[in-house]
Symmetry: C2
Subunit: 231 residues, 2 copies
């Protein structure tokens, strides 16, 4: 990992052509050859970048550019696609190298698929005595997260979200509309299950007769592990 702060201009050519005028930026050159060019704002997307596999070469500065003040020119190229990034450096403000090693990587937890799996194993949370028909129940507009039947036999479509917002309600409404036309599922009702629900989404759901179920992920995980959580 090499970190450089430099006054530079950048040109990209590939799927499109793009240019960054002269300014001071961060150049992050990673061990895999990739290069990220960041400014002091914006979100995580760099102003410009080259993804691996690629290679960085320091090329000779043309007389004309040297005249204009360029001290170094980097060329980062992607062998396969032919995409190329050219960085003209006018001044290096900072330059450091660091050994980072291989990262153990991100552990994601509590994503929708986890919640869905846990809830499919604990359908009693939806309705006492309910039975799972299936996960990812297919419809013409995509699969419904869970289809279950209450003890009474009434079908329920369940939409699972980490955080339920308006679009989750809309999504479930479309499923219910479609599934309700199936004679085997007539009278189907909806449950929106989520760890959190935005107030607007709750209002809309209730207005449409959709029940809201708040899930306690930690508790559900505790049940999964076969014992109540002790801490």
């Amino acid at each position: 990992m090499r970190l450089v702060i430099a006054r530079c201009s950048v040109d990209y050519t590939g799927r499109l052509n793009a240019h960054l005028p002269l300014a001071t930026r961060v150049l992050m050159h990673k061990a895999d050859g990739s290069l990220l060019i960041h400014s002091d704002g914006g979100s995580y997307k760099p102003l410009n970048w080259m993804s691996p596999p690629c290679r960085l070469d320091v090329v000779e500065v043309s007389a004309e550019l040297a005249e204009a003040g360029v001290t170094e020119t980097w060329k980062v190229s992607h062998a396969k696609t032919g995409d190329a990034l050219t960085v003209h450096i006018y001044e290096i403000v900072h330059d450091s190298k660091h050994e980072l090693g291989i990262d153990p990587g991100l552990i994601k937890d509590g994503v929708e698929s986890d919640l869905q799996r846990l809830l499919s194993e604990q359908v009693d949370l939806i309705s006492e005595g309910a039975k799972l028909v299936r996960r990812e129940y297919p419809t013409a507009i995509g699969p419904v997260d869970l289809l279950v039947r209450e003890a009474s036999g009434m079908p329920i479509a369940v939409e699972v979200k980490r955080r339920a917002e308006i679009d989750g309600v809309e999504q479930l409404s479309r499923y219910l509309d479609l599934l309700g036309r199936d004679p085997l599922l007539s009278g189907i009702r909806g449950v929106l299950a989520a760890q959190e629900i935005k107030p607007q989404a709750r209002v809309l759901a209730e207005d449409r007769g959709i029940r809201v179920l708040i899930l306690d992920y930690d508790e559900m995980k505790g049940i999964e592990s076969g014992a109540p959580r002790l801490f």
Copy 2:
């Protein structure tokens, strides 16, 4: 812009929960308060991050964590959504601050819309004596980039791409299929216009009777400016 290289562990809670085990990483703290956590590989997406608007607070290290070797704890929180990033720092390897100023930003050039506009002004490139019917000609599955009529009156649908690939051919095929049913456009033919075309796309296009037109963006821009390019 503050750049820190540190051995750290990170926890994110928000739309989901995520954890990064102890390892050496780059912490990029931008002037707008945002924080990016990068490893020495992968593409431009950080392992973890917090987007602005947010604030970074250095909070007290609990006795337990201090015991475990934590020297500093950062809490980056998004006021509105409640998302939070907690960084436990065990060792700082590098720490530097830099004034970058406001970036002039990226200038994109040669994107599809530019090509489309230029070609709509130079329809002779498609067929000598052709006339533009309209740009973004609407159909049920979306607008066709250009609809023109040859000198003979025969209609032509044009799909413009910076770099034409298989899906561009498929897209144009669907338009042709649909437009051909309109009696006013019967016999319509297709032209795929692009700066570059992948060999597979060329083969598929020609197999379907779609003509391929290679565009010289610089030349087209030269014509636009009213004079041939001198350099």
